[in-house]
């Protein structure tokens, strides 16, 4: 759970952003993100909240790790399960 999950911001409405997670579109809360975000930014998210805007030059490296975790995962893989749970946590975003 301390891993979080990165996604790409598609749009921002007030304190909510629509974010693409590896092809899945979800809403996340922006209440506690470290700096303001805009469409095109990548953010790291935890339990439904964006917590960090990922700097431009670090996006590739960050996505590669999560791609490895999700793509090569066995069905029982714990890291992949935690990442999928993080995506599920964004599901009920509101406002």
């Amino acid at each position: 759970m301390c891993l979080g999950v990165p996604g790409k911001v598609l749009s921002v409405e007030g304190l909510t952003a629509t974010v693409d997670f590896f092809g899945v579109r979800r809403q996340v809360r922006l209440d506690i993100v470290d700096v303001p975000v805009a469409p095109g930014d990548y953010v790291l998210n935890h339990v439904g909240f964006a917590i960090h805007r990922i700097p431009e030059d670090e996006i590739g490296e960050t996505l590669a790790l999560f791609d490895t975790i999700l793509r090569e995962a066995e069905p029982q893989d714990l890291m992949a399960a935690d990442v999928r749970n993080e995506i599920e946590a964004t599901d009920a975003a509101r406002k």
């Binding site: 891993l3 993100v33 714990l78």
Partner: protein, 380 residues
Amino acid sequence: MQPGSDPRVAELKFRDPERARRLTAALRHAVEGIGRPASVMHVCGSHEQAIARFGLRAAFPRDLNVIMGPGCPVCITDVPEVDEGVALALQGVRIATYGDMLRVPGTVKSLANAQAEGARIDVVYSIAQAVELARSVSEEVCFFATGFETTAVATAAEILAGPPENFSILSAHKYIPPVMEIVAEMPENKVEGFLAAGHAASITGWGVFEAFAARHQLPVVVAGFEPLDILAALVKLVELIRDKSPEVVNMFPRCVTKEGNIPAQEVLWKVFRPLGGRWRGIAHVPNGNLRLRDEFAHVDARRRFKIDLARFWDYAPAGLAQQCICGDIMAGVNSPTGCALYGKQCTPENPVGACMVSTEGTCRIWHQYGGVPDLREVNA
């Protein structure tokens, strides 16, 4: 391989094998520079998952012991805290919580046991989903909130956003920096340096570790989660031990700054205050628990309800639970393979201790991936 574990051997797969080779050579060199065995500790379930999943222990020198400390928030949730959740559930309050919490044992019952007896327990992935649930019903909904500061900020933000009146929080949130002090002072584990978890540090900032490093004369290195990030951080940490430099070094600058996420810290400390309390199996940790401030008494389940724990007082913990060494494992003085129950009476299907329940627990992770894969030849 560990008894009873999945018969797969963790595979070493680096995206940049050449850099991995250089880093493992540098790690070996640095450990040799110390001239004796050394132990370091990380405090993050995701770090242990990455180390085990990618078979990193096979690449560590034999004289380097990398221990997972109290980095699993579900595991360190104390027995009386679970009892509070179970008691509330049995009193008829609807409990929403993260899935890992269901099977964590209390004194005599887990939330799953309470559920089997008819209590209403809802598994959620986020506090927002718990608030949604409260909005959709008229009965009392209590979110049993676990997790370190990274997760507590989400709880705090949701409280500030104004949940409905039938919503309350039972906070078992914990704060990591104080427990590092406790573990550092334990004479038995001989930990000489800490890896700090990158994403948690993105909230607190790496500056939070400076006073700790100075006070205990122990280096702290902030590490990312990619296998090469972890190797590079370990090289730096062992070099700092070798050079007797108790500094804080940030090896994860792409995510972590010295100051951290200031808006999140403001939200966290506006809602929570640190309070001493027990961490399961470890110790009383001064300032280790995050509890709601008085201004938020109206959402605090401990103040809204009379939680009847007396019903548990006549019971002793189950026999097997008394043999569980979760606490020793999280304090770094033992490992899952040192436990008589591990993989035998205690499995993910029938967990005895919390460390086998959570996906971030050391026992569960080792059981899944194998703790110390026998791949020593990759060092050659």
